[in-house]
Subunit: 323 residues, 2 copies
Amino acid sequence: MPQSERKLIKAIAAAAGGSRNPAVQVGVGDDCSVLRLRTGHELLVTTDFCIEGVHFRREWHPPEVVGHHCLTRGLSDIAAMGGEPVACFLSLGLPPKLPQSWIKGFLSGLLALAREHRVQLAGGDTSSTPQITADIVLTGQVPAGTALLRSGARPGDRIFVTGSLGASGAALKKMYAGQRLRPARSSQHFFPQPRLDAGQWVRKHRVATAMIDLSDGLSVDLAHICEESGVSATVSAEALPIARGADLNSALHGGEDYELLFTAAPKTRVPDNIAGLKVTEIGHIEPATRRRSKAAPCPLITLVNPSGKLSPLEPLGWEHFRS
Amino acid sequence: MPQSERKLIKAIAAAAGGSRNPAVQVGVGDDCSVLRLRTGHELLVTTDFCIEGVHFRREWHPPEVVGHHCLTRGLSDIAAMGGEPVACFLSLGLPPKLPQSWIKGFLSGLLALAREHRVQLAGGDTSSTPQITADIVLTGQVPAGTALLRSGARPGDRIFVTGSLGASGAALKKMYAGQRLRPARSSQHFFPQPRLDAGQWVRKHRVATAMIDLSDGLSVDLAHICEESGVSATVSAEALPIARGADLNSALHGGEDYELLFTAAPKTRVPDNIAGLKVTEIGHIEPATRRRSKAAPCPLITLVNPSGKLSPLEPLGWEHFRS
């Protein structure tokens, strides 16, 4: 093992001590980590790649932002099930000549968010790779049988989103156009907040029939709900809570907003505000549309434009930094 | 998302249907997977990178071998805790021009081993990367409080290993020397077998005070036991069960044998054979040696040569394919 990797493992082990969760019986340093869930709870697991040039660019995103973002992706998946996060596992591949300060910044960004949500860094792996390659595993827990799935939406259900949409996509568009943005703490692009409190509130109050987080963009993520539930959806462009400085296109396809989208039965009372987040009704669920022919498949989502015109909403979604 | 990645996700989803485990409530296709452990059990989690050029070479290792190997690394960690595997998660980054047949072979090798051990492929992620990058997460379960750790070895304990050592390292040495080896099913290098039955037997019969799997080589892995337990160890070169065709050096430092090493209290009866595997006593545990000076640190492990001469055993271990 080269010296640089030994250093990395030490840095990760030190970071692992920075945030504790009582479920972790054995953390970093054995063949496996050992977690003890609360009685009557089920385990949630999600894994997410965070790869230089695909999910972030070193010249646009400081290491703290990358560390924060890596953990947000997994935490947001836990939020979308209505779960409570427990521990994360970090597999980190780094180029041999990466400055030590990058690693320090990355771990500090990840750890600050971990502490906020009592997530313990409980294991992982290291290697050398040509570009920065992180794979983050998040584990969480939820009372047995109560996890909110993508498959529960039914015709007649209304569709809701938390917060506002498009800010992250709009920031990205500016950077593609050559603008340099300051990675402000308040920026939804640089420091997105996983909606854990809202997700847990929705589960506890049995408000939703299905839920998902908006990581790939509304057009892609709502299509997932439709596919898994065997339904279609209609969304009103006018109703969308578009973030300041963003446009309709970013709100529909931008991705990485990490807000929650959920469906609720017609008679369920859904508050305007959940866990401090504005909640907006943006459309409703309809029966699955039948495909008329291979040449003209029916869309999963129909968009109602401000003029009342209907158009199919293709899942264009989030292409990350692919060129 | 490019067409190639969509294809990959479909192939993984199909593979996910090929091996089931009853603990998996929700598998591939939601924000998180949902696992329900048996009552009174704890969760085991381990993650392992498997990276082209570091852990394998495409020209030496056919895709089935790489798939098998990826899963073995995690299963072997579960075995080392005395656990029962439940589900795996595969994050797979692939170069854009990789032939479809490679992916097919990789998944088939992984899935064949998964079926053998009732491990369900329950999630993961995909991306494009310059070289093949797999990160495998294995989850398992074990009755609460019974997982076998690295930290339980005490002075006076005897040290045992299952099977034979050095076969994998010896095969690798031949390949470095330019020899082309046929990836035979019976080869410990190409198709190593995780020692799950033996690990569970050792846990159930309370035979061991500490256990680890030999993935990085005896010299490195026994040093981990010594570090975590705060002890030192003496190993007899003559006692080592060296594999046919291997030498002492491969047995000590070769790595990737995936046998189990455990320590047992002086009075514990340890059988010669556990779950069909030969068990060999190779040395004993002693109190931690005191460091005399920075210049002459005391070794964690002492090797007794056939002549009776003592020498420190440095943890040279497994450097994978680093050049």
